[in-house]
Subunit: 364 residues, 3 copies
């Protein structure tokens, strides 16, 4: 049942050069130490080649590698190994097992439109007026609510939630449990709240008032471009009046939270557990490492890169590389980290100076 691939077929898929016996059948890719007969060893760097498992017959190698000396019968050579991984894994990924057609236990509203070639699993619901493009693959337990419009080549894994009137482009992929289009977290008090007050005063406040929160409903939805991916159990909230927006080519990892009204540009990467608060604007090609936080209503320029756990409280200009909490330039944060570690010593140096200059110790 498992598909196999010849070396020739793999080389062609990678647009790469092969040497040796191009007819060898490959059943799986493997790290060199876990390769062996039937496997294609991924030995794209000399440091991995030493560990090659007994019986390995074929490998992807770095340019110039001596495959004969490694005892191989065939090799594929790639100029940028990391990029080759993309073509190789795309070729060999069997994809999820979703039977063609609409499962009898799926509930598709009669007013919904499903493009040709769909595979829709059991316990799926597609709401009134929803429109789904051709070749959709929708795994079990997924819901697409009323009026949602999604493009071609959709892949929704198990239990994905697509909310009402969400619009998504082509080639969208969502991992299990991703929730697109929950209501925004937006509440208001009858009188000015403590939060509004301290934002104006940077921390000072009059006596706190007992007030309760009234809901601001989300009339907007979520609009997502082409080639977007969303990770497992990630959440993207709908906008209040206009839509929350995610640009084409942007990839969102598991457990990321995107607040209401946020606008995210194209080709961004948002890693696991990133939180983007309401109405933030994020440019194109922005990379946010794991657990990064972005405050509400701020602007992150194009090509900003923020290291893991960076907390961005204020606007960041295009191209800035950020680190730390609060976020500063990465090089500044590295300086700060060094300085902070040297602090205890600085304290004793100052105490020593005080003693010498004032003939007294630190009065601590």
């Amino acid at each position: 049942m498992q598909r196999s691939f010849t070396i020739a077929e793999i080389a062609r898929a990678l647009d790469a050069r092969s040497e040796g016996d191009a007819s060898i059948e490959i059943l799986r890719a493997a790290e060199p130490a876990a390769a062996g007969r039937g496997a294609l060893a991924l030995a794209m760097d000399p440091k991995y080649a030493a560990d090659m498992a007994q019986g390995t017959e074929a490998a992807i190698l770095w340019d110039g590698a001596d495959w004969h000396a490694m005892g191989l019968r065939a090799a594929i050579f790639v100029p940028r190994p990391r990029y080759a991984m993309s073509g190789l894994t795309r070729l060999m990924d069997p994809g999820p097992a979703i039977a063609p057609g609409i499962h009898p236990m799926a509930i598709v509203d009669p007013t919904a439109e499903i493009g040709e070639g769909a595979a829709i699993g059991p316990f799926v619901t597609i709401g009134p007026g929803a429109v789904i493009g051709p070749r959709a693959r929708i795994a079990s337990h997924t819901s697409v609510a009323e009026g949602a419009v999604i493009g071609a080549d959709l892949l929704l894994m198990q239990g994905v939630r697509i909310g009402a009137r969400v619009r998504i482009g082509d080639r969208f992929i969502a991992q299990p449990g991703a929730a697109i289009g929950g209501d925004g977290f937006s509440f208001v008090t009858p009188e000015k709240s403590g939060v509004e007050e301290i934002r104006a005063t940077l921390g000072a406040r009059a006596a706190a008032q007992a007030q309760s929160w009234t809901r601001i409903h989300s009339l907007g939805s979520v609009r997502i471009g082409d080639d977007v991916e969303v990770g497992a159990n990630a959440t993207i909230d709908r906008g209040t009046i206009r839509d929350t927006e995610v640009g084409s080519g942007t990839k969102i990892d598991s457990l990321v939270q995107i607040g209401h009204n946020t606008r995210i540009g194209e080709n961004c990467l948002l890693c696991g557990l990133v939180g983007v608060a309401g109405s933030a604007r994020i440019g194109n090609r922005v990379v946010l490492g794991g657990q990064v936080g972005v405050s509400d209503n701020i602007f992150i320029g194009d090509d900003v890169i923020a290291g893991g756990a960076t907390k961005i409280f204020t606007n960041a200009p295009a191209g800035r590389v950020l680190l730390g909490s609060p976020a500063v330039k990465m090089e500044t944060q590295i300086e700060i980290n060094k300085a902070v570690r040297r602090l205890p010593r600085l304290f004793s140096q100052v105490a020593e100076l005080q003693k010498a200059v004032f003939k007294r110790g630190d009065a601590d």
Copy 2:
């Protein structure tokens, strides 16, 4: 199919004053630049009014605005614009499309009680002995486990999980994937663990022992007051012996984690990705910004506000405004941030002093 609203109707819903032609039909609310014919422009501040889209006939304006000069045919005036958003969006929100009655593909245990006027979608399960108040709206794929008791006007979006014996008041709203009543994360080792040891010694420890963790089951459940909302994929764990508690009026954002035995007061706001560890107690009207962390077993007083990414390790008195990790008063953290940025300069100043006083440089 889309409902429309007259200016008169909207003004009445907002308890606001209108001027001009109160019979104009409004189909949607819009930001001024995206308004136009059929839209109600939200121009509650002069800075937005300049951008008004061609053809806009009606707007919500700040008190004293000259609507004639803006070329409008009608206007509604509100004293606190942010609060008016609440009434306006409530009026115009069509709500989720859940057909009245119990869907034939829902499984409601014969011993469960469902109040009158329920709308329960497909692939919903309601367990033995569960009790749900009148006018419940329960979207597809949701589960309400055995013995759960929920009040009137419930709204559960797709895929919400309500655990066994969870008790919830009236007007509860949960966004897709929220999980109320997972087991608490509570484990114990036969002998004292490394964690117990370093809590006593602040970091020092004897040789680590190889032990494995034994589960403490959660006999308690979760008890939630009235008017509570829980965001997409947020989680609230059940208590060990007593219930985990969330007070009336408290709003919990997406991807928030509330640990076992926690007691959260009334009218709190917990923003996205907040984590509250086990047995923490949080007072009333507390606001925790995005990604805030609260340690286990600590107490946060009434009206505390913690800025985004604040990590609270120790008790916080009522009314305190917190920032930073570890959390300190917001004004202190602002001072600390300034000082830290000036540190590299301080180091050179001290080096210069050492040179002058001791006739030598920093021995670094």
Copy 3:
């Protein structure tokens, strides 16, 4: 319907000594103040004993407690109270109500193998070739995808997602919404990306290039040992070539994200909202507090303990106790925290010294 337990039965389950009337029937465990008739008061420390509710007849007490003086009719004595909680709660936990057998509304592929004694709820899917051991309890709305293999005594709560070819040992427990086996977050650009560049230069970069991200598919899966638990809405991503691994005895809390290719050892505890980035390796008996972050490709040694919100950017040796961001030894971080709070004073001390030495003030 509620089961009761005699004092004798409870003492036997805890392997503990009882005194007084061992035939008293216990319906529930309770904190002392909430105990009363029918309850077993958990008064394992003298400080709780004072609050004992009227009518309480039985309690678990610390060694040497005078139960007669407390007006009790029976008592159980335990040497390590926290550990006794494990046995007591295991005994009294009724467990989830999942009817024996396979619910008619579950869809089990004919090629799947289900062990004897299974209880599988409604709206469950078990995919082609999946193998599930004996005595499995699988709550509603859960999916087990093609080729997944799971051991004995499985408990999956509502809406859990087990991905294709995931392999799990015995006694696995997953709370609602946990997603095991989503695709890894792995993308590559045709040319070197800004992220690759700044990793080499620590922040410096040439002009940013406009590139888009190409997907690296996940050919690996997830392999999990025995006695592992995963919390509500937590996510564990599949590996790229090899499997992501979680060792036996490891417990993972709600909303934790485990990246692709990660290897986690045995008997670890990962608390709520922890994020472990791709290809990190974590040893045995490691404890990560809430919201801890672990960078990709680093190594955390055995017995490391990291306090809440610690951000680990570099390798950590075995036994290290960590705190802070970036993580340092806990004792160092406590020193740093003290020093940072004293910084404003240090600045004025240096200014004073400058005045004295150079006859001028701080030139700020």
